[in-house]
């Protein structure tokens, strides 16, 4: 019972890891080496198939070089001459299978692509005392190292899918590169589902055998197999076959080999993934771009648009232009008397052009927008794997081609027109001109008073008698001065008002522009980046899950 429960748990754990692999396969393209992903996809398929098929059977493959005695061992274990043995090399060209306990094994054998005529079953009735092997599917593979195997990948295929691989070695070939480099080293970590059989030990003296086994064990350990299971047999003499059976029966009874094999494969995949994309040192990226970076991006984009400059320009130009309206008219008139260099250059129309400068357009510098986006992704991806750095950068840039244009359009809507004239400017202008009129009128009064009152220039016309009173003169002069002073004061005050108002407006403008820039940055840069970051996080979460 306990073993069943254990199996169920293991299955669940395995299922979780496989789901994570599926996630990786989904998220990985473009970020992870496609070879590894292909491998992962194949493993998923294989795992799915194997888990669907009979869990009660354990597929054990006898693999090895030609002439090591796979077929002899196969026959010795099965107790029947099922697979032809011979001295010609290579002997076995097609895989033979022998099943202990046939029910449910059919689909499994189909999946393994074992030809019908090479399938054999041990009726369990025959196997008195061998009930331990019930559920064993023993495969006698072709060799993997002869010239025939160069064009035939059957052995290779089955070694990759068998639940338990029994490497049949012999004293002559146990250290062949074709076995070790291509399989044993590659499958290091599959300790639990790999058994090494040193066959043909009848050819060795006991001392030699001991040396040979020690050498083999050392070799295997050097290749990363921590606890190699080595069984020595002599298939032809029948020595050691019992031990092998015991090892097999152990695996068959526990019914865990299939799971263990898949787990080992997963571990191997994890190693490959980790090589391709080391999980250690991968910074766990926050799912959202933090505020500091958002502000940094907005600032940079604002610079690209020139938000502060636009504001300042507005403020300055208002200040200058307001003089035309709210300034002290006398000062303006005096300034106009000054000779203009443009006139001497006969470029008088340029002045109008400058005056006609209406502003109203804001645009973004594409290069600076690029650099701003680049800086954001660089900052976010520090320490990330190259592939993810590029992915994040591409996400950030996904819409940066349109960004300058969109920014320009969006901000132009609220761009200040430099030639705008507020109503109160006109009122003030009227007031100033009123004052000028008053001044002129006062002058006239004063002139009249002077002429008739003081110098007695003649009979004062009847209608002007009131104005001719010299006694009023001081008051008139006082009024004239007041009018001038009032004009000056108004000009100064309104100028200050303009500056104050412009400063306030600049602030509002800048705030509004910033707000819009930030909104655009959010939708066109930050969002894609965050999606990619989420993908990144999910990928590494899946990777950690696969690692178990």
């Amino acid at each position: 019972m306990t073993s069943t429960i254990g199996t169920a748990q293991t299955r669940q754990g395995l299922g979780g890891r496989l789901a994570a692999v599926a996630r990786i396969v989904e998220l990985g393209p473009g970020r992870v080496d496609s070879k590894v992903l292909t491998e992962a996809g194949q493993l998923l398929l294989r795992a799915g198939d194997r888990l669907k098929l009979s869990p009660d059977h354990t597929v054990v493959a006898l693999a090895g070089g030609t002439g090591s005695g796979k077929s002899s061992l196969f026959n010795a274990v099965s107790g029947l001459e099922l697979s032809p043995t011979g001295v010609r090399r290579p002997t076995t060209a097609r895989t033979h299978a022998c099943v202990w306990g046939l029910e449910g094994a059919g689909p499994l054998l189909d999946w393994l692509q074992i030809q019908w005529r090479h399938r054999f079953a041990r009726a369990s009735a025959l196997d008195k005392g061998e009930s331990g092997l019930h559920g064993l599917v023993l495969l006698d593979l072709p060799d993997h190292d002869s010239i025939r195997a160069l064009t035939d990948t059957e052995a290779d295929r089955l070694i990759q899918v068998a639940d338990l691989v029994v490497w049949v070695l012999d004293p002559q070939k146990y250290a062949d590169a074709s076995t070790h480099r291509r399989y044993v080293t590659e499958l290091a970590g599959h300790d639990a589902v790999t058994v090494f059989v040193l066959n043909q030990v009848d050819r060795l003296s006991p001392e030699d055998l001991a040396e040979c086994v020690a050498d083999l064990e050392g070799l295997l350990r050097r290749e990363g197999i921590e606890h190699p299971v080595i069984v020595t047999t002599s298939a032809t003499m029948g020595r050691g076959v019992g031990n092998l059976k015991a090892v097999l029966s152990d695996a068959v009874v526990r019914r865990r080999a299939a799971i263990q094999r898949l787990e080992a494969d997963l571990d191997r995949l994890v190693r490959r993934l980790s090589e391709a994309m080391p999980a250690e040192g991968a910074p766990s990226s926050p799912a959202a771009v933090d505020d500091a970076r958002r502000i940094g991006l907005t600032d940079a984009l604002c610079d690209a648009v020139g938000v502060p400059a636009v504001g300042e320009a507005m403020e300055n130009v208002y200040g200058v232009r307001s003089i035309e309206w709210v300034g002290w008219p006398y000062a303006r008139w005096i300034a106009k008397l000054r000779p203009d260099p443009l006139d001497s250059l006969r470029l008088g129309d340029l002045r109008d052009e400058i005056r006609g400068l209406s502003g109203g357009a804001v645009s973004a510098q594409p290069a600076e927008v690029d650099n701003a986006v680049q800086a954001l992704s660089d900052g976010l991806t520090t320490g990330m794997h190259e592939a993810w750095r590029n992915a994040v950068r591409d996400a950030a840039r996904s819409r940066s081609a349109q960004l300058p244009k969109v920014l320009s359009e969006e901000l132009t809507e609220i761009a200040p027109r430099l030639d705008r004239v507020p109503a109160w400017w006109r009122v003030l202008l009227a007031w100033q001109y009123t004052l000028v009129l008053l001044f002129v009128a006062g002058l006239a009064w004063a002139g009249t008073a002077l002429a008739y009152g003081v110098f007695e220039a003649g009979e004062i016309p009847e209608g002007l008698a009131f104005f001719g009173d010299a006694a009023a003169l001081p008051w008139v002069v006082l009024m004239l001065l007041s009018v001038l002073g009032l004009g000056l004061l108004t000009a100064v005050a309104s100028r200050n008002l303009v500056v104050l108002g412009a400063a306030g407006e600049r602030e509002r403008l800048e705030r509004e522009m910033r707000r819009r820039v930030a909104a655009l940055a959010e939708s066109m840069v930050i969002e894609p980046v965050e999606r990619e970051l989420a993908r990144y996080n999910e990928f590494y979460a899946a990777l950690r899950t696969v690692r178990g």
Binding site: T66, G67, V87, R88, R89, P90, D145, S146, L150, D170, P171, Q172, K173, A175, D176, A177, S178, H180, R181, L204, D208, C212, D215, L219, D303, A304, V305, G306, A309, V310, E312, A313, N316, V320, R321, P339, D340, P341, L342, S344, L345, L347, E353, I354, L357, G359, A361, V362, S363, A364, Q365, P366, A367, E368, D370, N371, D378, E386, P404, L418
Partner: protein
């Protein structure tokens, strides 16, 4: 040739016999295919049929020896022929040495040559075959090892042998032959050998051998030799043979001259040139195939040093026979047995041998001890476990015949990959190869890779099938031979060694008798040895014809790729430059802050203030100094904008370079991952800022020095150079072009500048300013490009002329040959 050999024809009878024989022979059915049959069946022993009848008639020597009486029976002369085929093969395998020796001798005798048969190689062959054939004939009935009278027991086997399989049996018989007390294996094949050594019989031997050579010898062997062989066969009177032999020997020596001096000198020079140009090769870029090329280069160099050059200098030096094969095949055991001393450690550990062991006759020791082949390997007295395997253990033993040295190599297929390289290096230095495989391994892929290599190199090869269980000997041997035949190696000398327990690292001596005889033949027969040596040398030199140009091609590919990669960089940065040119022309720079600052600058009246009337008075000089902060803000904005354009273009260029490199197969990818290549260098923004600032200053200077104001203007207006420089910049960058509509479509800056500076001066200043900007940015980009060039150079700078030199060296070598 072989076919001829196979068909037994009595030497004496020549063609006629041949014909006659065919029908008679049991194999008559497939006379044409005699070859193949023969090949398939291996009899390692050359079995002399003792066709009595024929013996008498023909050189009968063979027959006689064979005691062929029994054998003779069946075929009488004719039958023999049929069987001869197999025999021939066997002989080829087993007793090649004999054959050779015999052949040579006969040559010496020269008698044979005279024969008409000689003319047709085929006939000659047939003639030889006759000898062998005779032997064979007997085979059918008996195995015929002629000499082994005792072989008769074998006869049963032989009988089998009559059939193809029978031949195999014959091979088995060999051991039997060995058993015979008389001649060591001497079996028929051996017969020749022993004869050669000992008796006047030799001729017989030769006859047999003749058969062998025909069968076994490579077609390479000059026809002459073949003919001679045939002749020899013809001649084959035992006694005669002996006499001839004696006479012949000296002649052969004479024939075997070293190369003429001038040829040798030319060849030496050509080889030195080739070596030099191969040494110079650098394959820096990791292209597909570069590993192979590097390996090939190392191999060619090693082979030149280890083998070709010493061999050319001393063409008569002892032949180096390299024993190679799979781990556990028994190479060391074989060497120990042949040397009759435990010179190379054996054991059950795989792989066993790490350090090559060279065993030679004491007379030859000097040649091998000082330079000679493999001169670069340190010579050692004994294998020391744990030391690096880059040495060579040198031992001498009287048991080995002079003139041949055996070299035991590490394996070709164990987990220790370093061994494979050593083994291949040894093979590259070999005059002859002995390839050892076993009954368990003969179908292994690495073994056949090695055989293919031997074939490609045209190396003289002998194959030892070792550790053959006695009971499966026939099947295994037959199968192996068929595989060899299918592979086109059916005629190679073959030996079979039974599985037996080695004592003290040695096999029972009788197991290797044939091999020993083969060696002895080589030792004794200088001409034959020289032939083998020359054939291998020619094969190696021939192989250079393909291998050296392959290097040159790889080099050319490298050069082309390097140029491509360099081109990628230039294209990317050229594109960036063009982008900047465009941006500084079409007004796209005049956006954002620059635009706002400009509007500020002109809108606030600062622009007007930069101009002032040249009029003495209070106003002059006062107004101009207003608002420098706006001026500098514009200047800064321009600088920042230009810098951003440069940095962004550089960023894109870097990315494009890397992506272009990534699209180049192999090498590009490897190089592109160098850190930091995908982005501009860290200090680029800083340097770009500096460069732009310097350009702005330069522009001010230009206006000061060259801005010759129109005289009419200069009288009334003066201007501030700094501001004017900014106005010029704005104008240059395309103010007023379609894209920017600030103040209508006006060209305000241009008009102002035009009015102030005059058209001529404005044009010249603009042109200078623009080219100066390009130069400065170009300098920046040069530094960027330099990073890529360094990475490229880091991969090694190939010599462009090296490929040409290689071809030239190859051509010279061909001429010299």
């Amino acid at each position: 040739m072989k076919s001829a050999a196979d068909r037994p024809v009595h030497p004496a009878e020549g063609g006629r016999r041949f014909d006659a024989v065919r029908p008679e022979g049991p194999e008559g059915a497939f006379p044409d295919h005699a070859e193949t049959l023969g090949e398939q069946t291996l009899t390692f022993q050359a079995i002399r049929a003792g066709e009595d009848g024929e013996d008498d008639a023909s050189p009968g020597a063979a027959a006689t020896e064979t005691a062929g009486a029994p054998s003779a029976d069946p075929a009488a002369g004719d039958g023999e022929a049929a069987e001869a085929a197999p025999a021939g093969e066997r002989s080829a395998a087993t007793a090649p040495a004999d054959g050779h020796s015999g052949g040579e001798r006969s040559d010496g005798a020269g008698v044979p040559n005279g024969r008409p048969e000689d003319e047709d190689p085929g006939e000659a062959a047939s003639g030889h075959a006759d000898g062998s054939a005779d032997a064979n004939g007997p085979d059918i009935s008996n195995d015929s090892k002629g000499p082994d009278g005792p072989d008769f027991p074998d006869d049963p086997d032989d009988a089998d042998g009559s059939d193809v399989p029978g031949d195999a049996d014959g091979a088995d018989d060999d051991p039997d032959g060995g058993d015979d007390p008389d001649v060591p294996d001497g079996s028929a094949d051996t017969d020749g050998d022993p004869d050669g050594g000992d008796d006047p019989d030799v001729p017989d031997g030769s006859a047999d051998t003749d058969g062998d050579p025909d069968g076994g010898d490579d077609p390479d062997v000059p026809d002459g030799s073949a003919d001679t062989d045939g002749d020899a066969v013809v001649v084959v009177a035992d006694e005669d043979g002996s006499e001839e032999e004696s006479g012949a020997a000296p002649e052969k020596r004479v024939q075997e001259k070293p190369l003429p001096d001038e040829v040798s000198e030319a060849l030496t020079e050509a080889l030195a040139a080739l070596r030099g140009s191969v040494t110079d090769l650098v394959f820096g870029l990791d292209l597909p195939g570069v590993e192979e090329a590097r390996k090939a280069r190392a191999e060619i160099l090693a082979q030149l040093d280890d083998y070709v050059i010493p061999r050319i200098h001393m063409s008569t030096a002892p032949a180096l026979i390299v024993v190679a094969g799979s781990t556990g095949a028994g190479k060391s055991t074989l060497l120990n047995t042949l040397a009759n001393a435990n010179v190379s450690p054996t054991g059950v550990r795989r792989p066993t041998t790490g350090t090559p062991v060279l065993a030679c006759h004491p007379d030859d020791r000097e040649w091998f001890a000082e330079g000679g082949p493999l001169g670069s390997l340190e010579r050692r007295e004994a294998a020391e476990p744990g030391t690096a395997p880059d040495g060579l253990v040198l031992v001498s033993t009287e048991r080995l015949p002079p003139g041949v040295a055996l070299l035991d190599t590490p394996d070709i297929d164990s987990v220790v990959e370093a061994h494979h390289e050593i083994a291949h290096r040894m093979l590259d230095a070999a005059d002859l190869w002995i390839f050892v495989t076993t009954a368990a391994r003969y179908a292994d892929a690495p073994a056949w890779r090695l055989l293919r290599l031997a074939k490609e190199r045209g190396a003289r090869l002998a194959i030892v099938l070792s550790r053959v269980p006695a009971r499966s000997r026939e099947v295994v041997t037959k199968h192996f031979v068929r595989m060899l035949t299918e592979y086109g190696l059916g005629q190679v000398d073959r030996f079979v060694i039974n599985e037996s327990t080695a004592a003290d690292g040695m096999l029972p001596d009788h197991e290797v008798t044939e091999l020993r005889l083969w060696l002895t033949e080589l030792s004794v027969d200088d001409r034959r040895r020289a032939q083998a040596v020359q054939a291998t040398l020619a094969g190696v030199l021939d192989s250079f014809r393909a291998r050296v140009p392959a290097l040159a091609r790889q080099l050319e590919v490298q050069l082309a790729l390097r140029a491509d990669l360099r081109g990628d960089v230039d294209a990317a940065y050229g594109g960036a430059m063009a982008e900047i040119d465009e941006a500084t022309r079409n007004g796209s720079l005049l956006r954002g802050e620059v635009l706002a600052r400009w509007q500020d600058f002109i809108g606030s009246g600062d622009l007007m203030r930069t101009l002032h009337l040249r009029k003495p008075g209070r106003f002059a000089g006062k107004a101009s100094r207003q608002g420098p902060e706006r001026l500098s803000a514009l200047k800064t904005a321009l600088r920042a904008g230009l810098e951003a354009v440069v940095v962004s273009a550089a960023q894109r260029a870097a990315e494009e370079t890397v992506s272009r490199w990534l699209n180049r197969p192999g090498a590009g990818e490897a190089l592109a991952v160098a850190p930091g290549l995908g982005e501009p260098s860290d200090d680029l923004p800083r340097r770009a800022g500096r460069a732009v600032a310097a350009w702005q200053d330069h522009l001010v200077g230009l206006i000061r020095t060259e801005g010759v104001t129109k005289r009419s203007v200069a009288r009334v207006v003066s201007f501030d150079a700094e501001s004017l420089a900014l106005i010029l910049t704005i104008g240059m960058f395309g103010y007023g072009t379609a894209e920017i509509e600030v103040a209508g479509k006006s060209a305000l800056p241009q008009r102002l500048l035009h009015a102030l500076l005059g058209a001529e001066s404005l044009r010249s200043i603009s042109a200078k300013a623009r080219s100066d900007l390009r130069t400065r940015i170009g300098t920046l980009f040069d530094d960027e490009v330099w990073r890529y060039v360094q990475v490229l150079d880091g991969a090694g700078i190939p010599d462009e002329a090296a490929a040409t030199r290689l071809y030239q060296a190859m051509y010279n070598l061909e001429v010299a040959r």
